[in-house]
Symmetry: C3
């Protein structure tokens, strides 16, 4: 398994898939830079007059509702429809699910358009599955393992891969569950780590049709890179700098030796 | 006084208030990261369909008009109204006040909704008080002490705390004036330092109902952290990295020993 | 020539022109910081209610279509019209030209408003000249010298300076062609380097009416600063930090000694 993930990491640099991002204002720069550092080619485009055009030339799409509004939601729906029609894989990042009724409404419309992967923190995954609206803004108030039942429900309802990210990352599909124990607590003190995870997930969905493994590759890469970067850092500022450096320079040995991965079938 | 400010800094990390930001595109990432590094929990949301919902679960709000447009202005007004009704403190950052007639018009509408704190540079504070339109873009062309009369006028007109930030920060309410001489000239060569100051002000307003002291805490923290970060920096790039690190790691001793604060009653 | 470019670099710090940016969400922060580090005073403003007002107080303008939409396009057109009427120089950055039919349509409307400079990568310059729609997102798939004929065509059609940026930068007007061989491959792994180049071009257009030399100064500064920053970097994260530091601290000796410039008349 670990070797398979590393092969995907090399394949991303080789194929450099075009990833169409409709994401939030806060993280656009970081997301684009994480994609570039990892080998993908990002494009951000949201105009209703061009999203269908842009989506159709992409190898994968990520839709992140972090700073949604009525115009952007329409663009997201248009894009997801084209992705669905053209069998281009798309990843849903349900930022702040449960924080407002508007987010919940938009998310149910997006879910109907069959994302291949959903990645959120535990609070978001629980809110998605239960339509519960008790989350606090965009930060999680639950642990990943508390969201497993909710994630399994989403897998069944939408026939997709679900990733619960946090101190522990859990990736679930119909038959398998993988747990990753990488990363570092400093990652909670940097905005957009989850958004970067979703974008990297889309990147790997752009080079393999096994979306469960694509998601696992993305989370493993970000987790290991995060733990390596944290060791060199004095705080959340230097962490971000080192993270991009490590995503760009990580070696097979660093990746394989540091990866904490458990598979449950 | 210094000990009181330090207690607030600790309290922010303990309480981690949810801060609703309606701010400009240029600084969203920095603002979110500065809030996280200091211990607050930021959320950015501007959709007219959800701002009232989001604002009502926040402990404080910051409204920053840096990259305003007609849609966002409506969202700002909706949010400020909910904040006012629910007695949630809100901070106004009048970026570019005086640069265009549109900004002046929007600012007068926002001021009517009773912000607890106004924080701007000297040019902006003067423009706000005099409706003068002679500022140069978003950078100040005046020194903080030149704006004291204007700030006092705003305090009287809107019954709020006013902070003039710059090489010297001056915080004014009806009875007291505090002057802070911290920071470093490099901070003028980094975009969004004022925006970060406003967001941190909102964060501290989320943990104490003494908004004058909350504002002083924010400015003192950013100023001391800025001067510590500048000492380690080779320019505005490394400064930004160190600033986030210092906001995260600053100790009581570093804070108290470096803080230059003068109170006038 | 090299001394003339250095004098412009000093003049930028002395005059600190106000540069009005209508640019994309991904790079706004980097662009503002690169302008500040180099000595200019950036303002970002896009509201239809204020762009004419803001543009008219600026010394130069940059319009970058990276994350365009219908509202922003209207703002771009309004701004370009005011710039044209008031003889304020403006720079066009045709991000993603050729990627969608919408971008091509918008670009033809903008080109009709006579930018003083067009700066794009080779794919974008070719797409602009030929209305060809075969580019891959926003990254170039061609080398700079493959776009020379297209650039010459644009120079003739729009009586402007054209800059093709990439591993080699080529600046072309009606009589002269300058080639710059600076920079570093890491710059392709950081988002928005081209956008920064366009913004710096606008900055130098704000201090000299020789827009060909202004463009050359911007590209030379960014290229030399990029190669110096790359030497100190471990990847695209630290590169960005060092780049801002070098833009702020670069000396005459560093600039002159490292600059690789060839003129063809």
């Amino acid at each position: 398994m670990k070797e398979q993930l590393w092969k995907n990491i090399l394949l991303l640099k080789e194929k450099s898939p075009l990833i169409h991002n409709i994401t939030n204002y806060v993280v656009m720069n970081n997301t684009a830079n994480a994609l570039l550092a990892s080998g993908a080619s990002p494009v951000m485009a949201h105009a209703q007059a061009e999203v269908e055009n842009m989506c159709s030339i992409a190898q994968a799409v990520v839709i992140n509702i972090g700073t949604l509004d009525e115009y952007w939601v329409e663009s997201m729906l248009k894009t997801a429809r084209v992705a669905q029609q053209n069998k281009i894989p798309w990843v849903l990042d349900p930022v702040g699910a449960g924080a407002t009724t508007y987010r919940n409404k938009v998310l149910s419309e997006l879910l109907a358009l069959s994302p291949q992967v959903i990645r959120g923190n535990a609070s978001e995954i629980i809110a998605l599955a239960t339509q519960n609206t008790s989350t606090k803004g965009v930060d999680s108030t639950a642990e990943s393992n508390q969201a497993i039942a909710a994630a399994k429900q989403l897998v069944k309802m939408y026939a997709c891969t679900v990733c619960i990210s946090g101190a522990t990352d859990i990736i679930i599909n119909e038959s398998t569950q993988i747990q990753l124990d990488n990363g570092d607590p400093i990652m909670e003190k940097v905005t957009g780590m989850g958004c970067t995870a979703s974008a990297l997930t889309a990147a790997f969905c752009g080079i393999t049709s096994n979306y469960f493994i694509a998601t696992t590759t993305a989370m493993a890469l970000l987790g290991v890179a995060g733990s390596l970067a944290a060791k060199k850092s004095q705080g959340p500022g230097s962490f971000q700098v080192h993270l991009l450096d490590v995503l760009y320079t990580i070696t097979e040995k660093e990746f394989i030796n540091n990866l904490q991965l458990t598979t449950y079938e």
